[in-house]
Symmetry: C2
Subunit: 408 residues, 2 copies
């Protein structure tokens, strides 16, 4: 797997993109994006588990399951088109119709996605004008991939893109992606907007399987604030233009492809966690030595979601009691007397707790380790062979600032 591939959503053959300011948010920030494939794609997707589903989630669900192929995705930021009733559903169809029309493809081949404020109707005159404008300057280069990645941002501070190349029987196959997400991020399904493209030839069943399985250990293991959005969507499009022999069974080629998709999801997840609203660091929690995989996951998520732990990490305070406490109320079973805890970052690794009681560690060294941009807590239950990792961030004043008046 070659990991330093550029071009994000446009890295795979035959994918074009664009992003621009249509005027949804204001007259400056980019707020609409398009991803288009020169050839029709097989599509896989996963959506939010929230009972309250935004209109585009319900709309795309139908299309992904019923359309023979997908060829484009139109995205807007600023307004989520969630809690918008029948009007919101009609607007999804209008977006697909408008894009199908200007691209010369069936409207059933156009997915839509929205992110932003809940409860407001889309400004459809602005949106349709944007849809007419977007294809004029589409291109398959790095610059245009970045325009698209920037246009889907809301409170994100950085655009998020990644791509890799793998070798399938001597044929180079590329997988690339972009995503957005910063608030309302929680381990339950996909938790943000994510678009992945590949030129791999693979059947629909295995395409969906590679996505669903990898999401379980990547996007479902991140948490910024414990809130699961109404709009969470991950879409994976495969146009087959790499020219590899189609993957139709779970052979070594499928495994390579799965690993590529897994890597893309993992990297994008870490980018989201590390860009959590107002955060100053990526906080990684590794649980080791758990009795079951499920217990390991529960504990990792519980620690990464604990407000008290997150505030302590922000304060560079080695408050391991809060970590042990969060493991304790996770619902997982473990021996509370045999836990070892370490903190690690580029500044080094330090054992803070041995057999559930404090070691004679240096507070100064602990603070130094906790002051870096990527902080890892390693908790060994010494209770079994299972591990899990969760990603989150610290809880800061800026998180409160951002969310106390998001709509203003």
């Amino acid at each position: 797997m070659t990991k330093d591939v550029k071009g994000g959503i446009c890295a795979a053959k035959g994918f074009l993109a664009n992003g621009l300011n249509a005027g949804i948010k204001n007259n400056v920030k980019k707020d609409m994006a398009i991803v288009y494939s020169e050839k029709p794609c097989r599509a896989a997707a996963t959506f939010t588990t929230n009972v309250v589903k935004a209109a585009p989630v319900k709309y795309d669900y139908e299309l992904v399951h019923n359309s023979d192929f997908i060829q484009a995705v139109v995205v807007n930021s600023g307004v989520a088109n969630a809690c918008t009733g029948k009007q919101g559903m009609d607007y999804c169809k209008e977006m697909s119709d408008a894009a199908g029309n200007v691209l010369g493809i069936p409207s059933e081949a156009v997915l839509v996605a929205s992110t932003g404020v809940i409860g407001k109707q889309l400004p459809m005159d602005i949106i349709t004008a944007g849809i007419k404008e977007l294809p004029k300057d589409m291109a398959g280069d790095e610059a245009h991939a970045t325009l698209a990645a920037e246009a889907i941002m809301t409170t994100d501070t950085k655009s998020k893109q990644v791509a890799v190349t793998i070798d399938i029987d001597g044929v180079p196959v590329t997988v690339g992606g972009m995503c957005k997400g910063s608030g309302m991020i929680h381990p339950n399904m996909c938790t943000m907007l994510c678009f992945i493209t590949t030129d791999c030839a693979i059947n629909k069943k295995l395409l969906q399987k590679s996505l669903s399985l990898s999401i379980d250990e990547t996007f479902n293991m991140i948490s910024v604030d414990g809130d699961t959005s109404t709009n969470d969507t991950v879409i994976l499009l495969a146009n087959g233009m790499a020219g590899n022999k189609e993957i139709v069974e779970e052979d070594d080629n499928y495994k390579k492809f799965f690993e590529a998709v897994y890597y893309i999801n993992q990297e994008l997840s870490k980018m989201i966690a590390g860009d959590g609203e107002g955060c100053t660091c990526l906080f990684e929690v590794q649980i080791k030595g758990a009795a079951t995989k499920e217990d390991a996951k529960k504990m990792a998520k519980s620690v990464v979601m604990s407000s008290l732990t997150k505030a302590a990490i922000y304060g560079h305070d080695a408050n391991w009691g809060r970590i042990l406490c969060a493991m304790g109320y996770s619902g997982a079973q473990f021996d509370p007397e045999t836990v070892d805890i370490y903190f690690e970052s580029e500044a080094g690794k330090l054992q803070i707790v041995e057999q559930s009681t404090a070691t004679d560690y240096s507070e100064e060294k602990a603070t130094e380790i906790l002051s870096k941009e990527h902080v890892i807590a390693i908790c060994n239950c010494n209770n079994g062979d299972f591990e899990a990792t969760a990603y989150g961030c610290d809880l800061t004043h800026e998180y409160v600032n951002i969310n106390a008046d998001y709509r203003s």
Copy 2:
């Protein structure tokens, strides 16, 4: 039920209390308290559900279940005696022994409780000196009840006390209580330290039942930050000194007593939620029209715990989308298209959402309602006959301040 009774933990006949600065935190703040009954008490208790249980929780569990009677409780704040291994357990016994010695009662009749930093050993020389000092000035008046209520505070900004009197066959019976709790408060069992005293004559089984049932809808329905502490404890002591005929079955007298205990727990719960770390308001969430009681509880808790909703309340922002979203990921089933949402406070009541879409409400009026010290969100699912109420608070800069460097 007479609700404006003064005296808190000392309101019931025969209970004495005291609180003082022993020097655990510093040389100014009170940090040790005692509650003593002139006659031996029947005892009931509930404890944290956290797998990681502090030493005093394990110690008291044994005593409450195995001792014939309890006559005193000694409490310290500043150090939680949690994650302290065998040493921590030994210190609990030392505290009971010291108190039993100075009070002239068996050490098996003395419960202990601790709250504060996790992972540090108790400073036993200071603690035992405090235990010798506490009984010297014990008294059964309002002033001494307040000294005790103040001595158990950590990040609390106000002491929390309440008492009521009921009439059992013409005999006045009193129930009073005090509690502390502000951070690490979450709906799961008792979530803080709470001590309740009564002069009611009642058998042990019904005493425990009245406590366990009332806690399920009071302390288990509050949330400050989603973290369930290692030390959560509610203790209820009954010395029978009111002279009523002992309550031994679930008759009308039991019902009266249950309602009194319920009221005490509800009021103390609301005081804790309204004094959440750094908060500016008590945030109450009422779910109505749910299909089951369990669904109503899940939704109420989910909304009251949502960081995004809590930050919006802090910003006086009527962001109902976040409320509907939090109901949606609660795990409860409901029709996402038929929800009505209202905001209410002393400034009035306003319908914000009808049938899951925004009404044409005044943002100005909404902001006025949300600016008060007690804000209520009322969410009607129009889906059934069940209701539940949860209590929490807003998420503020001050919460982050307090928890970023609690140990320093």
